[in-house]
């Protein structure tokens, strides 16, 4: 999908939860600008997955909105955004190539364009030799790469990526980062959740750190350091520890 007229996304979560009257997340708002990568971070139970599910419309109790180009995501048309889940979702009787063909068919992508893009992505993720194999028989890491390939094939304006580094070996992580760089050059935006703070720091332009279902701090690395009272050389990991109060408890600096 073209990103020429892409002005970015706004995530607005007034309340989100799994039971009525018991919101897990409250008052979370952040923007994702064109070509920007935003990391949604936080300790276990902070509400990262809840926010992601809410933005995807998968929560039973949800007050909020995901705006794409200022309009609700539901009106943005197919292919405006792609979700890459943490747990690979595959169909057991489709080959890898057929998984991609199905994804392309959902957007009405012409056959020739699909074939060229699929070839390029399979080579990038070094999956071209298993294109006619069943992905359900792949290792977890390879299955994760299949999900990434499907997501990249659709060329959406916004990627929602849930824990992308789990199950990926270092070379696959490098391939993912290169692919995301290409997408950034195209103007696509990325919202990703992760626990891998070092990689998030390298990959993301801005961060939203959640604590107890609320935004504790957000901004660029500089802004995060300032808001958490960390020094100029502090890593995201240090800021995170300081923010969550574990620095003192663990004796870290």
């Amino acid at each position: 999908m073209s990103t020429a007229d892409w002005t970015g996304a706004q995530a607005i979560v007034e309340e989100a939860g799994y039971e009525p009257g018991k919101p897990v997340v409250r008052g979370v708002r952040f923007d994702i600008r064109p070509g920007e990568r935003v990391g949604l971070l936080g300790p276990n139970g902070a509400g990262k997955s809840t926010v992601m599910k809410g933005l995807l419309g998968q929560l039973p109790h949800w007050k909020g909105e995901l705006l794409l180009n200022g309009s609700p995501a539901a009106e943005a048309g197919p292919g405006a955004m792609a979700y890459i889940p943490e747990q690979p979702v595959l169909y057991e009787r489709l080959t890898l190539w057929e998984h991609l063909a199905l994804a392309a068919a959902s957007l009405g992508m012409p056959e020739e364009k699909f074939a060229a893009k699929a070839e390029r992505l399979l080579r990038r993720f070094r999956l071209d030799h298993v294109r006619h194999h069943y992905p359900v028989r792949f290792s977890k890491g390879m299955q994760q790469k299949v999900m990434l390939t499907v997501g990249f094939l659709l060329e959406p304006r916004l990627y929602l990526v849930d824990e992308p580094f789990i199950g990926l070996d270092p070379s696959a992580m490098m391939e993912l980062m290169q692919a995301l760089d290409e997408e950034r050059a195209r103007g696509a935006s990325v919202l990703l959740t992760t626990h891998v703070l070092d990689t998030a720091e390298r990959m993301c332009d801005r961060f939203v750190l959640l604590l107890d279902g609320r935004v504790a701090v957000s901004g660029t690395m500089e802004e995060i350091r300032r808001q958490t009272g960390c020094g100029p050389d502090a890593r995201l990991f240090d800021c995170f520890l300081k923010l969550t109060g574990m620095a003192e408890a663990g004796g870290a600096g």
Binding site: E92, L94, E98, M109, P110, E111, H132, R137, E155
Partner: protein
């Protein structure tokens, strides 16, 4: 432990368990099934220590029931297995199933069966007796196919360390397998009795010989398939198991044929099967490291018993056995015009269905039963049956399409409603029209046979007409059948605004 708190069915068993026996005589347990058994650290028995009855009352769970034995445990496991299976079957049963499915099936099936044997076709009388015997051998081999041991994954913790218990439990499993073969043999032999009694006029002795041979042969085959499964995996396992069944069926057919000229073949065959069964049983009882395979076999047996109920539940569906599909191994499209998105979707749906053995089996069964119904009914009824079969086919295929769109992977994508509807339409036609046209051929040939002359033209005209008739039935039913994707809950767009399926590619181009 008192009888009141002992599991039912174990109360009369007074046999001491092996661990108690070890405690009594102070000896080590026998060899274990564990490749690296832990050294024995059992305590020496204490002489005549008075039992603390109060302590027993307080902590009864620490003491094994006195009657706890391999036989009792196996009895409990077999009963639990069948309780579980029957409970699952019960969920699919209510009076509507009985009235609308089972009763008509029994009535129609029974009538077709009775009619067949009342006036059997000429080829039945001409068929050598070895052919039905070989088919019977095939059926007995396929039903209740594997050695059952009712193993549980938890057995690996303690039970398998006791070799005596393991042997006795597997021995009971062998008896169960033999009994299952006997039951299946009796059922299918009874169905073939009209042939054996009225057509080839076998005396009771030969009938008994055949039954004994089928039971023993089925049992031997179960042990052979068990050994093959433990030895190989992948395609070697599948091919070996398949080949074993074919060899057995052919061998039994040959034995039946040879016994007509040389009656000595009969006792020789039974002796061979009994001795073979005994040798294989002894060898199997000595085998070690079989727990994983046995647990896998039990899981497969349970899945086979209830799988038909849960055939569409994604977590229950079996994963493909190979790394690559057996059919349509390349990306070549199956349907013409697959460049169009809706045709591409229909093409992918069709491939996935053909790769699922359960769907192919159901399709073949529906086609076979439909053809039998057309052949066995009067001409006017055959035409009506043909039309009803078309409706059934459309309805069943639509259910498969709807389920496909409900797959988690499919739900990840925002399917435009019109694209999904058109792909469902193409899928139902691609999968169902050939079967409907072939039913039309059966109707046409039947008409030609009955009336002769120019009516034979119906044999050519009916399949062609059937194709168009199927399209009409499909179009009519599409109006009220379940839709592949739910209706969008938003105001209906005006006719001018409504997206057209053919516009999907144009929409893509516009956005890019």
């Amino acid at each position: 432990m008192s009888d009141e708190i002992r599991p039912a069915g174990l109360r009369d068993e007074r046999e001491p368990d092996d661990s108690e026996m070890h405690r009594r005589d102070g000896r080590k347990p026998e060899d274990t099934d564990d490749p690296e058994p832990d050294p024995w650290h059992g305590q020496e028995p204490e002489a005549d220590e008075p039992e603390d009855e109060e302590a027993d009352d307080e902590e009864p769970e620490d003491v094994l029931p006195e009657a706890f034995s391999p036989a009792g445990l196996m009895r409990e496991r077999i009963a639990a297995y069948w309780r579980k299976v029957l409970r699952s079957w019960r969920t699919a049963w209510d009076w509507t199933v009985g009235v609308y499915i089972v009763a008509p099936f029994l009535w129609i099936g029974g009538n077709i069966y009775a009619e067949f044997w009342r006036e059997p076709p000429g080829w039945v009388a001409d068929m050598p007796a070895a052919v039905p015997s070989a088919l019977l051998a095939l059926i007995v081999a396929v039903f209740a196919a594997d050695l059952r041991t009712f193993a549980d994954p938890g057995d690996g913790l303690f039970l398998r360390r006791n070799r005596a218990w393991t042997r006795r439990m597997i021995g009971i499993g062998m008896l169960y397998t033999l009994t299952a073969k006997l039951v299946v043999t009796l059922i299918f032999s009874a169905l073939l009795l009209p042939y054996h009694l009225a057509m080839v006029r076998w005396p009771a002795g030969i009938l008994l010989w055949q039954a004994a041979g089928l039971v023993c042969g089925g049992y031997v085959l179960a042990l052979v398939r068990d050994a093959v499964s433990r030895r190989w995996s992948g395609w070697r396992r599948r091919m070996s198991r398949f080949a074993a069944v074919l060899v057995w069926a052919a061998a039994w057919g040959w034995a039946v044929s040879a016994a007509e000229d040389s009656p000595a073949v009969r006792p020789a065959a039974i002796a061979l099967l009994v001795s073979g069964g005994a040798i294989l049983s002894a060898s199997r009882l000595k085998a070690q490291g079989t727990l994983f395979h046995e647990v896998e076999t039990e899981r497969d047996a349970y899945a086979a018993s209830i799988g038909w109920l849960l055939i569409d539940a994604p977590p229950v569906r079996a994963l493909p056995r190979g790394r690559r599909p057996l059919v349509f191994r390349r990306a070549r499209p199956l349907l013409p015009g697959a460049a169009a998105p809706h045709r591409r979707l229909a093409d992918l749906w069709l491939k996935t269905q053909i790769r699922r053995f359960e769907t192919v089996r159901m399709y073949a069964a529906l086609w076979g039963l439909g053809t039998a119904a057309i052949v066995q009914t009067p001409m006017w009824l055959a035409v009506a049956v043909w039309l009803v079969l078309g409706g059934l086919m459309v309805s069943w295929l639509n259910r498969l399409v709807v389920q496909w769109y409900a797959e988690p992977y499919m739900k990840m994508f925002p399917w435009p409603e019109d694209l999904a509807m058109r792909s469902a339409d193409a899928a139902r036609i691609a999968a169902g029209a050939p079967a409907f046209a072939l039913w039309g051929l059966a109707v046409g040939v039947k008409a030609g046979l009955l009336y002769g002359g120019f009516v034979w033209l119906a044999a050519a005209a009916a399949p062609a007409a059937g194709w168009w008739l199927y399209l009409a039935i499909n179009g009519w039913m599409a109006g009220f059948m379940a839709k592949p994707v739910p209706d969008k809950k938003k105001p209906a767009p005006s006719p001018d605004d409504r997206p057209q399926a053919g516009d999907a590619a144009a929409e893509f181009e516009k956005n890019n």
